[in-house]
């Protein structure tokens, strides 16, 4: 495309440097100094006192929880989400917009309402039990299973969409060719379709992994406050105005996340496959 449009990128460069870059630098500074709302510039000094946080048990466990749950959620969403995306793709619906909307529509309702609704029916005595006489899910509220179910079915739309988009781009002639060449449908799927849709899987995995890793509302509600994610700790630190510790954890989380993106986007150098 013509280079004449370069100018269109300038406002965004300015926007990103003001609203992303400066706060990012500020956060790094806050995380290695004693800077907070009551410290004046003259008292400002380098300190790593609050770094002791990183050796504390809850922090480590929270990091571990975030990682394990984000990983499992991504894996389960990938398996189930790929299946759904593939079935929708097989239906050959003409209007993509409708498919996208139907998949994403649940996310338009408030997250807290949705999660509390799940908590409701995961509890022993719940609204469905009062209608049907039995509890559909038993009494799983407060267990890791409940948290996983909540995470998987909240974020799965983010997995389905990019996979579906990737599948849709595959030329049907390729599949036909594979079948003509004597591959069984199973082989043609694994050798042709799946590799071609892999970019969508990478994108979907990123979009599911990140919010699960950094979030905290769903685990907090569905585990009944018994499983702590790193997001919970960051939140607590910021709410109690302990910005230094909060910024430190946020920076580490960000490094972590950017690192995993770089790792995942080896498949796509610019991380631009997202949808």
């Amino acid at each position: 495309m013509g280079k004449s449009f370069k100018i269109l990128a300038i406002p965004y460069q300015v926007w990103l440097s003001v609203l992303v870059f400066i706060p990012l630098v500020a956060m790094v500074v806050i995380s290695v100094t004693n800077l907070n709302s009551t410290v004046t510039l003259s008292e400002l000094q380098f300190t790593m006192e609050h770094w002791v946080l990183l050796t504390q048990r809850p922090t480590l466990i929270a990091f571990r929880n975030s990682l394990i749950y984000a990983g499992s959620t991504t894996l389960i969403s990938f398996v189930l989400g790929y299946f759904v995306a593939y079935q929708i793709f097989r239906l050959r619906i003409k209007n993509k917009f409708i498919v996208l909307t139907i998949v994403i529509l649940p996310m338009w309702s408030n997250l807290i309402l949705r999660t509390e609704a799940l908590l409701n029916i995961f509890s022993e005595n719940n609204i469905l039990k009062s209608i049907m006489g039995f509890s559909l899910f038993g009494n799983i509220a407060g267990t890791p299973t409940a948290v996983l179910i909540g995470l998987v079915f909240t974020y799965m739309p983010f997995m389905i969409l990019p996979i579906y988009t990737a599948l849709e781009k595959i030329d049907y002639a390729l599949e036909e060719a594979a079948l003509d060449l004597g591959l069984t449908p199973m082989q043609s799927f694994w050798k042709v379709v799946f590799p071609l849709s892999f970019r969508g899987v990478v994108t979907g995995s990123i979009l599911v992994f990140l919010p699960t890793m950094a979030g905290f509302a769903i685990p907090k509600i569905l585990s009944k406050g018994r499983i702590i994610f790193i997001g919970n700790i960051i939140d607590t630190k910021f709410i109690y105005t302990n910005y230094n510790s909060g910024a430190l954890l946020a920076v580490i989380l960000l490094i972590f996340i950017l690192g995993s993106i770089l790792l995942m986007t080896r498949f796509d150098k610019e991380g631009e496959t997202l949808l």
Binding site: T38, A62, K224, R226, I228, I239, Y240
Partner: protein
């Protein structure tokens, strides 16, 4: 495309301008659904001010909102410890009692005075300053904390009345299979544990922290929640939880609306308030952001009118701080209207002003102490 952009900007501009009502504004930062709309309407009519209410769900969010100065709030309704913190950081204006003529006509309840006294005492111990908190704050609602319990469990009520806190914390001895819940505010858990240990809930030391940690660990909490606690006890998904007494009354009022009687609700779930009760008080204060200081005083004065306070109490399940308003509420005990009658009985039962026992607020702790308590609770939860 340019036209679309232009039109959108014009639309934004238009909406922003329409948003500007010409009447002078009074900006309030409040808890959600924490005021009777009727009261607001009457105040607007009486003063011609346009009341704008923002809501938040924690004192800490109030604090960051005031501190950031992004909105010129005239009234905030923070709790006790946050008032201390805000006074300490010079975020509040002193009240001008000449503008609050109603103050002279009412009496604060004994519990309210006790709370302000304890706040002064802890501030003195912590910072060496003597602060009279009534210089800054007027009570909005207050209330005790208690242990909401599932009365469908045989013997639990008796045990709570006989052994008090121990029934809740000592899971080895009492009701080992009972499902126990705790508020997910670390300081609440810490203060409750210290009260059980018969220590001052506002003291902090490394050894107290360890003792509290042991107590909290032994209680074996199955849930760390907030609004979910009261609903879970109500629906038989939880057996005991440390909550605001107002949490119980909130559910009680709803059950009464559903047509149940007070006795029926109490038979399902009830709340036990220990003799040494932890309490909170929400206060009307004027933050330094205020641009309508006179209007703010008008509002506070309006809410020192017992009739208005009683009206406000009809929708909020917490206790009034004014004896005169309390008298109006409990006088409904002879009312023909079953709801009013139950409302008055509930206030007599759970917020009785002649109740025996002491009231201790949870006061502001040192930020390092708060951080340590938060970490302690996180450690217990992580197992």
């Amino acid at each position: 495309m340019k036209k679309i952009v232009l039109l959108t900007f014009i639309a934004i501009l238009g909406v922003t301008l329409i948003g500007c009502n010409s009447a002078p504004k009074l900006r309030i930062l409040n808890w959600g659904e924490y005021i009777n709309d009727e009261v607001v309407a009457q105040f607007e009519e009486a003063t011609g001010l346009n009341v704008v209410i923002d809501v938040a769900d924690s004192n800490e969010l109030f604090y960051s909102k005031i501190k950031s100065k992004t909105t010129a709030y005239d009234i905030v309704i923070p709790s006790d410890y946050m008032v201390e913190k805000m006074v300490e950081e010079e975020m509040l204006l002193e009240l001008d009692y000449d503008l609050l003529p109603n103050r002279a006509l009412v009496t604060y309840m004994e519990g309210v005075n006790q709370i302000y006294d304890s706040m002064t005492a802890t501030t003195l111990a912590r910072t060496g300053d003597t602060v009279d908190y009534t210089d800054y704050a007027v009570p909005y609602f207050w209330g005790t904390f208690g242990i909401i319990y599932n009365n469908r469990i045989e013997g639990l009520e008796e045990s709570l009345q006989e052994h008090g806190w121990a029934t809740y914390f000592d899971a080895d001895t009492y009701f080992p299979t009972a499902r126990r819940g705790m508020y997910d505010v670390a300081q609440f858990a810490y203060a409750a544990a210290l009260t059980y240990l018969e220590e001052n809930p506002n003291d902090y030391s490394a050894s107290l922290l360890t003792q509290a940690e042991d107590v909290i660990r032994d209680a074996n909490f199955t849930e760390w929640g907030d609004d979910t606690l009261k609903r879970n006890v109500e629906s038989d998904n939880l057996d005991m939880a440390f909550v605001y007494t107002g949490d119980y009354l909130d559910r009680l009022y709803i059950q009464l609306d559903e047509g149940k009687t007070l006795a029926e609700v109490q038979a399902d779930f009830n709340i036990f308030i220990p003799e040494t009760a932890l309490v909170f008080i929400d206060n009307m204060v004027i933050p330094y952001t205020s641009e309508n200081i006179e209007g703010a005083h008008q509002f506070i004065n309006f809410l020192l009118d017992p009739e208005i306070v009683a009206l406000n109490s009809e929708v909020v399940g917490y206790a009034t701080g004014l004896e005169e308003a309390y008298d109006i509420i409990v006088s409904n005990v002879t009312s023909e209207d079953p709801w009013r009658q139950a409302w008055a009985t509930a206030n007599l039962t759970y917020y009785n002003k002649d109740r025996a026992g002491t009231y201790t607020p949870m006061t502001a702790l040192d930020p390092d102490a708060i951080d340590a308590i938060n970490t302690m609770i996180e450690t217990v939860i992580s197992g």
